[in-house]
């Protein structure tokens, strides 16, 4: 038997891949991480260059700070266009989209993955979220429950550095170990959050024939704040600063640009975990696109990964093969599925690529009667979480709402559009312009609803005949929003109407048929955007006939292949997926260590 190149090869240096590498490396296992994107940001100078790139970008979308490459392309929200029913697919971006609706999310192929531009929201899933099938007869159940994942949530909260108070999070059945505290105290609620709480807390919204009292909840977030001395049995917590400048980012400075880049690196990104990983025998190769999972002749195991090294500007190198005892795919729901389909691997269930989900993100915005000081602080520091679960889930999607701190930002291109309107449409200048902006923008409020989607076989990623710069197929996406989710959107819109009314705010929400994500239900129109939450294409389950991986995210078909990330989640529920995928990655890493057996002498 030949000796493998490494104990483990990992595809993807995002949060799941970096963490698996760190855990295995810490146990003495040799690991190679193959990252499709560039290393950009791993030195402080590179990272600051990304910040400058963002500042100078005309349109400050989530991927605006980061380099692009035709050899490892990724989607941009700027690619999302309206689709014509029955018309040709849209292929202007990386995705080829056949619709009927556009899949509206982006991601990043880079060391650090999409955590480079995430917001940092770290809500746990509710116990009910694991049992949607049993409780509500929709969506299906997870092969594991909240209590099994709970210890991993604790470890994930350490890895990501989560700031929150347990007392704020004990709702809808969420339970914590006795005496548990988060690593850091909660991030201070924004002034707007406090005004919302004063005006709304305890007042009911009336939805689905029931009164639900509003609770303005501080959001757990992977953002450095004040460490809690009681953490870890009184040992406390040391925040992790910036990669390449560990004195930076030890506390959030209020740069108000979490999405798309935290200049201080006070917000967690997976470069931090990657940096930790490299204390162990972990090698990271960037600009290395995995192009094939090579199976053994009996198809029971993976023999090698094949990858294409590239260097922008020169022709790509010849594919190289690397062997290992264990293989881990940690691309994301799209890239993992694409590679498995390209390789004809792990798909005995015919579920690979299916059940693609996102949180359709529906914004509602309004003008408060008073200034709440918009455009200060992290993008969101609080949310409305009380509608994440309830009997209504039998018939319509649950949702949470983030309370935005940045006015009408993505919803109406504030403050840029306001300035243009003031100068060009209203003909204002001088003091009149200045005071008009001052009276208007600080009063802007926005709710962002994250709607649950059910897993649908027809929402899927397949391979398109069109190829990228390396000649690899581009993802072909079929996507729709079912009535369950649309009903949720209608309820969310109604919720926003009531909330704005309680706040005394004048509603300015506007959706139109020319919006790329415009959908209707019962004659009413709603517009969704993407949340960047890529979920569901390699679902986990307890039956090889209906799932791709088991509850430790090991492929049913190939004994030494793990497929990790939010793609493994059977349902999307209503929490932002990174904390859960981090917890699942830790659980998978435990499984890998068990598979590998005792550490070699």
């Amino acid at each position: 038997m030949t000796v493998a190149d490494y104990d483990v090869v990992v595809m993807g240096a995002g949060p799941a891949g970096a963490l698996v590498a760190a855990e295995l490396g810490a146990a003495g296992r040799s690991v190679l991480v193959l990252e499709a994107g560039p290393a950009a940001g791993r030195t402080w100078a590179d990272y600051q260059a990304n910040v400058d790139h963002y500042l100078a970008a005309a349109v400050k979308v989530p991927n605006s700070p980061y380099a692009t490459s035709g050899d490892a392309p990724y989607p941009s929200v700027l690619d999302v266009v309206p689709l014509t029913p029955g018309g040709p697919p849209s292929d202007g971006g990386y995705f080829v989209q056949e619709g009927p609706l556009p899949f509206a999310s982006d991601y990043l192929r880079s060391a650090g993955g999409t955590t480079m531009h995430w917001l940092g929201t770290c809500l746990r899933m509710l116990p009910a979220d694991f049992e949607m099938g049993a409780r509500y007869g929709v969506g299906g159940d997870w092969p594991l429950g909240y209590d099994e994942l709970e210890p991993y949530y604790e470890r994930a909260e350490r890895e990501l550095g989560v700031a929150a108070e347990v007392a704020d999070q004990e709702y809808l059945g969420l339970r914590f170990r006795d005496g548990y505290v988060y690593p850091m105290h909660r991030i201070p609620p924004s002034y707007g959050d406090r005004r919302f709480a004063e005006l709304l807390d305890g007042v009911p919204v009336h939805l689905d024939g029931a009164d639900v009292p509003i609770v303005v909840s501080n959001t757990p977030q992977a953002r450095n704040g004040v460490p809690n001395p009681a953490y870890d049995g009184g040992r406390g917590f040391e925040p992790v600063g910036a990669v390449g400048n560990p004195h930076s980012g030890l506390r959030c400075e209020g740069n108000s640009s979490c999405i798309p880049i935290c200049p201080a690196q006070a917000k967690y990104n997976a470069l931090k975990t990657l940096h930790r990983a490299q204390r162990g025998p972990v090698e990271v190769r960037t600009q290395a696109v995995v192009s094939r999972v090579v199976l053994s002749p009996d198809r029971r195991s993976v023999r090698a990964l094949e990858y294409i090294p590239y260097d922008d500007g020169s022709p790509p190198g010849a594919p190289e093969r690397v062997t290992a005892e264990l293989f881990v795919l940690a691309g994301n729901a799209i890239e993992n599925a694409k590679l498995l389909l390209m390789s004809g691997a792990a798909n005995g269930s015919d579920q690979v690529g299916r059940n693609l989900m996102d949180h359709p993100f529906m914004m509602c915005w309004a003008l408060m009667p008073e200034s709440i000081g918009a455009f200060r602080g992290p993008s969101s520091t609080a949310g409305l979480e009380m509608l994440r679960d309830g009997p209504f889930r039998r018939r319509r999607a649950a949702f949470r709402a983030e309370i935005a701190n940045w006015g009408w930002d993505f919803a109406a291109f504030a403050p840029y559009a306001d300035v243009e309107e003031g100068v060009h449409a209203r003909g204002l200048s001088g003091e009149a312009l200045r005071s008009w902006l001052a009276r208007r923008i600080p009063r802007q409020i926005r709710l962002g609803f994250l709607l649950e989607q059910l897993p649908l076989r027809s929402n899927r990623v397949t391979l398109d005949r069109r190829t990228d710069g390396l000649g690899l197929p581009r993802p072909h996406i079929a996507y729709d929003l079912d009535t369950y989710t649309r009903r949720g959107m209608a309820a969310a819109r109604e919720c926003a109407t009531q909330v704005f009314s309680l706040l005394g705010a004048s509603d300015a929400t506007a959706y139109g048929p020319t919006d790329a994500g415009y959908v209707t239900l019962d004659g009413n129109g709603y517009t969704y955007h993407g949340s960047g939450h890529l979920v569901g294409t390699h679902r986990m389950g307890d039956d090889p006939a209906t799932s791709v991986v088991d509850d430790r995210q090991r492929s049913w078909d190939h004994e030494n292949l793990y497929v990790v990330g939010a793609g493994s989640s059977p349902t999307i529920a209503t929490s932002n997926p990174t904390l859960t995928l981090t917890a699942l990655a830790l659980r998978a890493a435990d499984g890998m260590l068990a598979d590998l057996g005792e550490e070699r002498p």
């Binding site: 500042l55 880049i261 200034s371 455009f375 200048s429 902006l437 001052a438 600080p442």
Partner: protein, 139 residues
């Protein structure tokens, strides 16, 4: 009419933006902004703009030739971005290759006056410190 073209540009910009001249100097963008306006709109038109009475911005803004430049100057100061001159202006006065839409520079974005006008700070720069967002707004 007194002072250098740069001084006159700042005086006019103060009147157009509602900020004190010293604040505009303090952004460090007076010189690059003037350079950009000159290259996008041409020396002749800018000279005419700078010759106008900054006390009478109403007349400047109403002028079919100078008004569009003045409005673009306001947007440049407020957002750090240059909007392409309107079609009718380009047709009549000529189109410069430098007259293309975009953020002038990272520094120009950071210096944008809109953030001061609303009591905030440019996103991604000039952070106000931990917990600043919890304090009552100044604007």
């Amino acid at each position: 009419m007194t002072g250098t073209p740069l001084e006159r540009f700042v005086a006019l910009s103060a009147a157009l933006t509602g900020f004190r001249a010293v604040e505009l100097w303090g952004t460090g963008q007076a010189e690059p902004h003037l350079r950009l306006v000159l290259s996008a709109c041409g020396e002749e038109h800018v000279a005419e703009l700078l010759a106008a009475d900054p006390e009478d911005t109403g007349a400047i803004l109403a002028d079919p030739g100078l008004g569009p430049i003045a409005r673009n100057v306001i947007v440049l100061w407020y957002l750090g971005q240059w909007d392409q001159m309107p079609r009718h202006w380009r047709d009549r006065h000529g189109a410069s290759p430098a007259d293309s839409a975009g953020v002038a520079s990272a520094a120009a974005f950071r210096a944008g006056l809109v953030w001061r006008a609303i009591g905030a700070h440019p996103t991604g720069a000039n952070p106000p410190g931990f917990g600043s967002w919890a304090t009552p707004p100044a604007v």
